[in-house]
Structures are given as C-alpha cells and as structure tokens.
C-alpha cells in the first residue's frame, strides 16, 4: 500500500472556529484533502486515516421507543465501537417482501461502547429503508460501514455548552452531551418535539446532569420565541460557550442568528441523500456560505458536522 494514500476527514468546526486555527479534534490534527490546497498546497503525504471498515454487526436489541422511533443496538467489531459523537455509519438494510432498499442508509451514532463492543442507533421509521430496517430481528446480522465523517468538536476553552435538537436530531446530540460531561463540561439541553411522547433520550441528558428544557408543540413551548428566550438565558447565565444543533432547519437558523449576534461558536449536524458515504460520489453536497461565497461540501466527508455559522437553510 502506498503510504501516500491515507485519508482522514476534514477538521473544522467549533473547535477550529474558537481557536482560530485548525485544532486537534478527536480524529487527529490537520486539514484533510478538501482544505489541503489552501492550507498546505503540496503535501501529498498525509497522516494515517482514522480506521473505517465495513463490519458485520449482530443485533442484540431492537425496540420501539414510541409509535415512530426505534432503537437498534448492535454488537460489532472495531472500529465501529470507536465512533465519536456526530459521526455516522452507512447501514445495509435488509430486504422485506414490500421494501427492497437498494442503497445503504446513513445513520448517526446514538451511542458507542468500546468496552462492550456495541454501537447504537435511533431512527424514525419513514420510508423504504427504515421500514425494512425495522424488520430486522435480534440475533440477525447486518453490515455497517464506519465510523464515517467528522464528528462534533468542543472548543478547548469551553466550560458550558448548549445543545438544541428536535426529532431524531436529539439522538445525534445525546453522545455529544456525554462527551462534554466526560470532559467536565456543563450541558444545557433544549429538547424540542411534537409531543411529550416524542421526546427521546431525556434520561441520557439527565444522567449526565444536563439542565434539560423540554419544549413541545402541544403546549406551544416549542415556539421559536420561547426557544430564543431559553438560548439567551443560557448565554446570559454564562452557560453558552458553544452552540450545537441538529434536526430542524428553523431551530438551526435561530441558533445561527443568536450565535452570530453573541459571538458564540457553534456546530450543526446536517443530512443529505447519500450513496457511498465515503466522499466518492459527490451526491451528498450542501451549500455553505463562506466569506460571502457559496461553497458546496460533501456532508459525508466534510461533515456531517459543520460550523453553524456557515450553514445555509434547507
């Protein structure tokens, strides 16, 4: 194997923003190929790639959390359980009589447990892929490619962060909150949902001692005006050294506006239809606003976590 071919995801995001320069995130230092021409124009020899593999996992638990969401726990060999908050896997869904998904489906890491060799996912049963995925029984095997993409990063200097999620986005933020807690960083978690039955992962945020604010459509508390107040409260209370969001365009825009106003760095985890998950097909681009110009980036390799400030509405 030529040593020159070894890749790693791009580093950017809240840490980079906060530090003003590429910071050492969990995936190792330095810019990846996409930013390489700017950072170091002629550096063909790159540091070793974080390990990615297509492994066979065994379903050890697979339950309904409510009418729409399922929780899937797999036992899988390394490197899968080494995944970091914000990274994702490309899952090979089974075929059923009705649903025969052709492509894999990307799913955010919900929890990784290297000690027990487990990875967990939380998903909403939506279409062909997730209906088929929902059919898989305990004891069955499935392929998962990962861990993929760039996860969340927390600025070195942060003492307190705010996470704001909605729907399945809450699942993506739960491991971030735990990563923060493990570093002794305080977490304010604003959890938005249609109804009380649709709020997931509260217990995980509670377990790390997060300040939890559940906001619902049913009682109107999920209204942007109220969420804005909660964000400003956190900032005013000195508990908003970084912002993180996932799962809602409207909430992303809100958090972005307040982040800009109050100069709080932030990250957002985005989605886009994918095919390869590996940066090869260029299916998964989203536009970002960088210094006034619009730039397309691949969600799978340059994301799925991006600087909040650069995100554009979808």
């Amino acid at each position: 194997m030529g040593q020159t071919i070894s890749f790693q995801p791009v580093r950017h995001g809240a840490a980079a923003q906060a530090g003003g320069a590429p910071a050492a995130g969990p995936q190792g230092p330095g810019p990846g190929p996409a930013q390489q021409s700017a950072a170091m124009p002629h550096a063909p020899s790159l540091p070793a790639a974080p390990h990615v593999a297509d492994v066979l996992g065994v379903v050890v638990s697979h339950v309904w959390l409510n009418d729409e969401y399922r929780h899937l726990v797999l036992e899988a060999p390394e490197p899968a359980p080494l995944a970091q908050a914000g990274q994702f896997f490309n899952l090979e869904c089974p075929h059923t009589a009705e649903d025969k998904p052709f492509l894999r489906r990307p799913m955010s890491l919900y929890r990784a447990d290297p000690a027990y060799g487990r990875v967990e996912f939380l998903y909403k049963v939506t279409g062909v892929g997730t209906r088929a995925l929902a059919s898989i029984k305990v004891g069955r095997t499935m392929r998962l490619l990962g861990p993929l993409g760039v996860g969340f990063s927390i600025p070195e200097t942060a003492k307190d962060i705010v996470v704001l999620g909605r729907g399945v986005g809450l699942a993506t933020l739960a491991p971030l909150a735990e990563m923060a807690a493990a570093r002794g960083i305080g977490v304010t978690a604003i959890l938005s949902a249609r109804s009380a039955a649709m709020v997931m992962s509260v217990e995980r945020f509670a377990a790390i001692g997060a300040r939890i604010r559940v906001v619902l459509d049913t009682d109107g508390s999920s209204d942007p005006v109220n969420v804005e107040m909660l964000l400003r409260d956190a900032a005013a209370g000195g508990r908003a050294d970084a912002f993180y969001t996932c799962g809602s365009n409207r909430l992303m825009l809100l958090m972005q506006r307040i982040g800009r106003e109050l100069a709080i760095p932030g990250e957002v985890a985005l989605e886009q239809q994918m095919a390869c998950g590996l940066g090869m097909c260029f299916c998964c681009v989203r536009n970002f606003s960088v210094d006034g110009a619009v730039e397309a980036r691949r969600v799978c390799t340059e994301g799925p976590v991006f600087p909040l400030d650069e995100a554009m509405p979808w």
Binding site: G2, Q3, S6, P44, V52, A53, C276, M280, F282
Partner: protein, 328 residues
Amino acid sequence: MVDAATLHGAGPGPALTIDQTVRIGRLTLRNAVMPASGTFAETLAGIVPFEQLGALVTKTVTPQLRGGNPTPRVCEVGQGMLNAIGIPSKGLDHFVAETLPLYRGVPTPLVASVSALSADAFADAVRRLDVPGVAAIEANISCPNIEEDGKAFAMDPRPTALVVEKMRRATSLPLWVKLSPNTGDVASVARAAEAAGADALVVANTILAMSIDIETFRPRLGNVMGGLSGPAVKPIVVRMVYQCARAVDIPVIGCGGIATAADAVEYMLAGAAAVQVGTATFVRPTAMLTVIDGLVDYCRRKGFARVADLTGAIHDADLTVDTHEAAS
C-alpha cells in the same frame, strides 16, 4: 476462440494457479477489475487495498472548475440508482498538482478520466494529462459537444471520430474512450473511435433516466433527469459490449451493473477484456475484491487457466441474431 464447454466444462479442476493478468493494449493489468469513474476516490484506500486492483480510474476531471448539479443528486429506483451529479470538478491543474501525487507509490496503473466541451478542449486536456503518474487516459465523451448544439459526442460516429482523432494526436499515452449507452447504434460509434485511434473502449456510461415522486409531483433529482446505474442496466450494457466487441479489434472494458463475479464473467463472455465496478461499491465497498476472487474461483471451477480466456468465450457460433427482434 476456446470451445469452453468442451474443454472446460469438466467441473472442479485441480487447484490450478490462475493467470489473472489481462492486457489492455500495451498495458498489462494485474487483474481484470477496476473501479468505474465517479465511484472511486482516495478515501476507499482504507477499505480496498489499491495494490490488489487491476487499475484505478479517477473521477472525471474537466479543464476548468465546475460546480455540479443541484440536489437531490441521487435516488434509488428498484435495483438501481439515478444520479445527476453533473461532474463537479476542481479543474485539471488541481488534479495534476493535488490528486495525482496522492497515488505516488501505489503500484497500480492510474487511469485519468477527463471530459471537455469541445474536441479542441478535449485534446488540450489530454495533452495536459500526459504527465508521469498517469498510465492511461479515459475520455468520457458522453458529454455535450458545444459545437454540436450540446449533443453528446458519443451519440454519433462522426463527432466521436473527430474528438478521438484530436486526442490521439495530443498524447502517446494509452487512450481509452468511454462510450454512452444513449445512442441507437453503439457499434458504429465504437468503430469510429477505433478508427480514430482509441486503444480501448469503456462500455458504457449511465443510461439517461428519470423518476418522479408521486406524493410531491417533483422529479426525484434536482436536475430532473439523471443516469441509471446498477444491476438494472446490466442486460442492456452486456448487449452493447457484445455488439462493440464484435465490431472492433481493440479491447472493450465492460461497465454497467457489475456487482458479483458472475456479472463480470457474463461481461467477459460477451467480449469484455476487463470490467469496471461502479454502483456496487456504494452498496458493498469491498465489491471489487469479491469480484476479483470470484473470477479466480470461476476459472478454477470451469478449467480456464487464464481469466483472459473468458473474453469472448460465449458459445454463439450456431446462432444468428434476427434484428427484427430489436423491437419485439
């Protein structure tokens, strides 16, 4: 042509060492399997050891920077997918300066795929790609020719001949020409490319297709139409490989819906000298390795000493094709 069923139908032979090498013009490849352009990048290195592949084919690069199409750029349709990526490209200079050096030290021939909007631009691009590290050039001529009102070069023999001739004069590197399946007469296009100096043909690119979301009434691709790839296209492209292989003497590389060794064998029997694996890599990143191993197993089981002996080994001598059937 070897009478394969007679000589080789005898069931599992001894644990022969199978010669996996194939020749594509003056290049000898380690084996018959390589990625299809646009479905491969350096990022696969951690999963597929590049030194085990027959060749590496890079994503099509254009002379200048290009942005690509709006999203959604992909959707699945039955056992296949549509894509409308639109060849985003950082341009040739970036490719030569940034991408090529990454493959330094990889002991596998690198094939640079290139596209341009006129015959002269193609020739110029090919000239600029004639640099160390490029083992062959794959010209993706399924793109619109601005001198022909946007009609793709590969739709007709005449513009194909013109663009291939100009490229031929611009480089002494092996020149592979990738044909489009969106033509009524692929064999004539193949002959034109051969006559104009192509060293090999890649058959084929994606088939123009479309899908509509009946809940939203929206096309499922941002570009409305896109290219169909994956298992769904295999019978159509196998037919084109068969037609091209009978029409030309240069090697034909089969590409379309190959996911298993059985698929690769089918293409080789139809006349392919090598194969490219595209969409299958998205579904199973290690698909190319499975195809490589499976070709060896097949040869062993059927008693072929060389993978290259599969090329054109179809038994069709007693059959004739009734063109009336093109139609039903």
